[in-house]
Amino acid sequence: MTPVASDAKTRTKTPRRNDPPPLPNYIGNRKPWLNNTRRRSLTGWGFLLPAALLILFMSFIPMAQAFVLSLQTGRGTRLDFADPLWYNYQRLLSDEIFKLTLTNTFIYLIIQVPLMLTLALVLANLLNNPKLKFKALWRTAIFLPCAVSLVSYSLVFRTLFAGDGFVNDMLTGIGAIDSPINWLGQADTARFVIILGLLWRWTGYNMVFYLAALQNIDHSSIEAARMDGANAFQTFWYVTVPQLKPMIVLTAILSINGTLQLFDESWALTRGGPAYQTMSMAHYLYEVSFQKNPNFGYAAAISYVILMLVAILSFIQMKVGDKRD
């Protein structure tokens, strides 16, 4: 153990040989408060401090203000506390448009998230194989969509799925359909385009997480499984996936969060159309705040509903998936 300068000052007795050496800041007979365990614990909390402080000021305080707002009604800056206090929340229950956006958002959540995560997992696993050729090529190609800015990808998708766009041309060309599909003009197909857009854009993103995680798992476990005679699928399912659990839980939470808060695609791809049929909750929130007659109290209430939904779902996720071994 490295002798510390303070030893010379504090050691008053020669320790007996069988006693453990005294702690560096041992003063007289008393055990110092700041022993190794406590110091370690404080350091541990210290590690969290910068991040936590930033979040406190940048997120929590605005969130608290938003909560107070959600209890107020009025337009613009003429806001007063509502009577009853939960008036905005009550109003949400009878808001047809909000209910529609809620349905839309859940449709996206239930269909898109599982598909995307499974796909990302499979792709990452494939890319992790040392024998794969052109790895860098595949990786870059699959990740590129998320590097593209929102404006462009929505314009591109809108053009491709237009009445006389490429997709229709191709489908009629190969005889799959008789007349062009009005992709963005009907609710179902418009939602499909959004889901397709989400899959296109975010699969690569999640793949990156899984690739990083795959690098951190122990290859010997996979080797062992292989030697025991397991095939590719079994190895994947019984050996790889359980070790990836923490990362799967992470991406699941992030995806749930991202999808429930979906704004970009609803805004840029379909403008929430046709007639609010693809609009997400966050998009509606933005409309109520900035495009319609500003009703910030109501918008804040919507945001808290979103928060509660995300919190509940994430909580379930963590309980179910995130066991520490």
Partner: protein, 268 residues
């Protein structure tokens, strides 16, 4: 050793890669076409690239916007990696019930839509006179619960006995983090860097709001300017968007080997 069952694996990869690249191909091609052709979904490259370039650079401050976006993205990434990695490490390595509760509370912060906290946040910066500054753009983006969560989850697979060994060897806590954890978790840092850079680069709403007098422009703001006129030149727009997407692609390309490579023997 695992032999890649060639066909299904390659097929899926090829399909998804093509599917991913196709719209990008359209974007690149459109940047070389005239507005009219872009609207007609022309698939072949055209001859309007130089013209689009000259129109773009003469009507918009592209260099300025690229520089600003770059400063914001790099600044955010460096600071975010520093702040969130130690937090994630802290949550996992010094695990306690208390920390779990704190983590859950911090997670709540990312669950509220930004549009709702935007105005109180703006008010905060207005009160300290930091509106219209690049710092005001960067600071809210540094500490995200998501990055902290990423590092925490990644740390789950970091063997704790290494830490114990280091402690016995007399290393201080922060040294353990800096000298052992950071080099080992290189892949996580690389992934986090890519993700943060991308998010900071493409962030549209907050910079637009806080840089209220448009004296500083970011690339997303610039492309929004182009698409907002009465008459939009779609070829120029696609070019702007292409330029806007290049840095993220480059960062990814540079870092991808980092997060796809394994741990390189830092442990013995």
């Amino acid at each position: 050793m695992t032999k890649l069952r060639s066909l299904p694996g390659y097929a899926l990869l090829a399909f998804w890669a093509l599917f991913s690249l196709f719209p990008l191909y359209f974007m690149v091609v459109s940047a070389t076409n005239t507005s009219k052709d872009v609207l007609a979904s022309r698939m072949l490259p055209g001859t309007a690239l130089l013209e689009n370039i000259s129109v773009l650079f003469s009507t918009q401050n592209v260099v300025g916007a690229m520089t600003n976006s770059f400063l914001i993205a790099v600044g955010t990434t460096v600071l975010a990696l520093a702040v969130c990695s130690i937090a994630g490490y802290g949550f996992e390595v010094y695990h306690s019930r208390g920390k779990d509760i704190v983590m859950a509370i911090l997670l709540l912060a990312m669950m509220i839509p930004f549009a709702a906290t935007m105005i109180p946040l703006f008010q905060l910066f207005a009160r300290v006179g930091m509106v219209n500054s690049l710092w005001a753009v960067v600071i809210p983006m540094i500490s995200t619960p998501f990055l902290i969560l990423l590092f925490r989850q990644a740390s789950r697979s970091f063997p704790h006995d290494i830490i114990e060994a280091a402690r016995i060897d007399g290393l201080r806590e922060f040294s353990i983090f800096a000298r052992i954890y950071v080099p080992t978790m290189r892949s996580t840092f690389a992934a986090a860097a890519v993700i943060t850079f991308m998010m900071a680069w493409n962030n549209f709403l907050w910079p637009k709001v806080i840089l209220v007098n448009n004296s500083i422009l970011t690339m997303p703001m610039l492309t929004a300017n182009i698409s907002a006129g009465y008459v939009t030149d779609y070829g120029v727009l696609m070019l702007a968007v292409l330029l806007s997407s290049l840095p993220t692609m480059i960062v990814f390309f540079l870092l991808q080997r980092q997060f796809a490579q394994g741990i390189t023997g830092a442990v013995k």
